[in-house]
């Protein structure tokens, strides 16, 4: 990888993030002007590092579950046996994406109560849609000649799916996972309003006690995480697409 300016910028953002999570006290002088009346400068009701891990953990579990379910559903409705569900599932994805993440989160609370669970469920449900949509796009827009060739060399349906269709659709599916992760990172922040342990806790503590230093550190950690993860996944997509011989878009 060339060390171009964007790469350098991202590496320094990563270094800054790690430094802040490990030694937040180093940054006290920078954040000090944002507080008044000797309010605490660095979030003091829990370790920032732990919150970051918990935040990432919730996002990871939800995205993993969403990926498995969305892929299974997308494969099902693109096989002959599930073809009847294809038009409906397209509409459902369209309708589902008009549901705001906050509403999904808020509506999950009455069903299961406060804490990590409603956040996980909201992240899972909302994360399903982009992955399912992209998997559908990937699996229904395969180059016809390739699928025919696979049939011609005598592959059965299972082999075609695993060796031809899914690998060809992989870059599009990964793009869906990337979208889903970024949305989940943001929605997990809102999860703190229903008592999930995430970085949103820091921001909300800052909003409640009028402490801008808290708001800024919470916001910047989530923001940098989101940008770095988004870029990292885009880079993986490009590598995969190149390996598959598909021109990067």
């Amino acid at each position: 990888m060339r060390l171009s300016l964007p790469v350098l910028l991202r590496l320094s953002a990563l270094a800054l993030l790690i430094a802040f999570l490990l030694r937040p006290d180093w940054f006290e002088p920078v954040l000090k002007p944002l507080t008044d009346n000797n309010a605490p400068v660095v979030y003091n009701q829990g370790s920032l590092l732990m919150l970051t891990f918990q935040h990432l953990q919730i996002v990871f579990i939800a995205t993993l579950a969403a990926t498995i379910v969305a892929l299974a559903l997308a494969v099902l409705v693109t096989r002959p046996i599930g073809a009847e569900f294809l038009p409906l599932s397209r509409s459902l994805v369209n309708i589902g994406q008009t549901f705001p993440p906050v509403a999904v989160l808020a509506l999950a609370v009455p069903a299961i109560g406060f804490g990590e669970k409603p956040t996980l469920i909201a992240l899972f449900l909302y994360g399903l849609l982009p992955i399912f949509e992209n998997a559908l796009t990937g699996l229904t827009n395969l180059p016809h000649a390739v699928v025919e060739a696979a049939r011609g060399v005598g592959m059965n349906e299972r082999q075609r799916l695993l060796k031809v269709e899914l690998p060809l659709a992989l870059p599009v599916i990964l793009a869906g996972i990337r979208l889903s992760v970024v949305i989940s990172l943001a929605t997990a922040t809102i999860g703190s309003t229903v008592a999930a342990k995430t970085l949103g806790e820091v921001i909300i503590a800052g909003l409640i006690s009028n402490n801008l230093a808290f708001v800024l550190q919470g916001g910047l950690i989530v923001g940098i995480l989101a940008v770095l993860i988004y870029d990292g996944l885009s880079a993986i997509e490009r590598v995969l697409a190149r390996r598959m011989g598909i021109a990067p878009k």
């Binding site: 705001p100 509403a103 808020a106």
Partner: protein, 388 residues
């Protein structure tokens, strides 16, 4: 197939969900006051027996129609009948369960009601999708649904439901927050269109600028909303203190200003990116022909390029509007108002009907915006194709 009845596969799914909704899940919840845990009531407990029987018969008939492979209008009619029965009878359940004169008791729809609605919404969505309605017909269906809900609301048959009791307690603030919500969502969209389309045209003309602008806007989109709202408090607070006159026009660290700016920033990417894509997709032949008849650059822009790119730009506006209606909910966390006020108040008081009072209108608004703008995009695309 021979000798056996081939059931509709979606019908089987709907029958399974509906059976769960009737036999395994409660229809309504009764609570002595708004925050205590509730008692689950089945359909027969929640409704007078004649109404319970009617509901079961309608649901069974609709399920059978869903199971058989009947023509689409039949399936649509069955789903509508089932949904109408559910919506009308949940209001009756509220009146039936609430003791006369008791103003503290709360009745809300329970999981069975939602499951049944979900089952028949699936059937309705499937029939409507397969009917391939045109854009005007889709808006007509939306308007009819909105009218039906408005009629039920106006008739007062839902007044016994907990969500409407929450509404009755705060009717004034509900409409004030609704106005704030819509102003935030549409105002920031208007600002983004006013700034984004010229920016998009500029990016189209100056390719060197394009990548830089789109990259920056992309990064902004990845910043979680609550974080961006929070981060903007600092600069806007500074402006309010240090720029003369800023505070007088309503610029403040917290409140509507940071919410408006954040929504504006989020809206820029889809508007700019779609303007660039739309302009890039204008066929070279159209431009050449326009140049051939002696049009100037600005005539070409307004008479040829912009009209041809319009459907793509409209798609961007649709994305922004739906996204803004959802994100405006978060403005409540920084004092910006909107439906989020009820959502977060409700979460704070563990009063779930208050959460619904904020969430249901948000979802309805976003859904209506999506249907209307999708139809508008389709109409403008077919108009464009006709004139081009």
């Amino acid at each position: 197939m021979s000798g056996r009845i081939a059931f509709d596969k979606l019908g089987v799914v709907i029958a399974a969900i509906a059976a769960c909704g009737v036999f395994l899940a409660p229809f309504a919840t009764f609570r002595a006051n708004r925050i205590v845990p509730g008692d689950a009531k089945t359909i027969f407990e929640a409704l007078p027996s004649w109404a319970a029987m009617t509901l079961l018969i309608v649901l069974a008939a609709a399920t059978i129609i869903a199971l058989l492979r009947l023509a689409l209008p039949w399936r649509l009619a069955a789903s509508m009948a089932a949904l109408a029965a559910l919506l009308l009878l949940i209001g009756l359940a509220a009146n039936h369960l609430t003791p006369p004169g008791n103003t503290y008791a709360r009745v809300s729809p329970a999981s069975g009601f939602w499951l049944l609605n979900f089952a028949f919404v699936l059937l309705a969505a499937d029939s409507l999708t397969r009917l391939r309605l045109g854009p005007v017909a889709r808006i007509a269906v939306l308007a009819a649904a909105a009218l039906a809900v408005a009629a039920i609301l106006y008739s007062g048959s839902w007044n016994g439901l907990s969500i409407l009791k929450e509404y009755a307690n705060r009717a004034d603030s509900f409409w004030a927050e609704a106005a704030k919500h819509v102003t935030l969502a549409i105002g920031s969209l208007a600002a983004a269109v006013a700034a984004g389309i010229p920016l998009g045209i500029l990016c189209h003309r100056v390719p060197a600028l394009r990548d830089a602008v789109l990259n920056v806007l992309n990064i902004i989109q990845t910043i979680p909303s609550i974080a961006l709202f929070g981060i903007l408090i600092a600069p806007l607070g500074w402006i309010a203190i240090h720029v003369p006159g800023a505070a007088a026009i309503g610029i403040r660290g917290i409140g509507t200003a940071p919410a408006f700016v954040a929504l504006f920033l989020y809206s820029l990417l889809p508007v700019v990116a779609n303007t660039v894509v739309g302009l890039a997709g204008v066929p070279a032949a159209a431009n050449d022909a326009a140049r051939g008849v002696g049009m100037t650059a600005s005539q070409r822009l307004f008479k040829i390029e912009f009209p041809l790119a319009f459907p793509v730009i409209l798609t961007g506006i649709r994305i922004v509007l739906v996204q803004n209606i959802g994100l405006a909910t978060i403005a409540a966390l920084i004092g910006g108002g909107g439906f989020g006020v009820f959502v977060f108040q409700g979460i704070g008081q563990t009063a779930m009907d208050l959460v619904l009072l904020g969430a249901v209108p948000t979802v309805a608004l976003a859904f209506a915006a999506a249907v209307i703008l999708d139809a508008a995009t389709e109409l403008s695309a077919s108009n464009g194709a006709r004139t081009a």
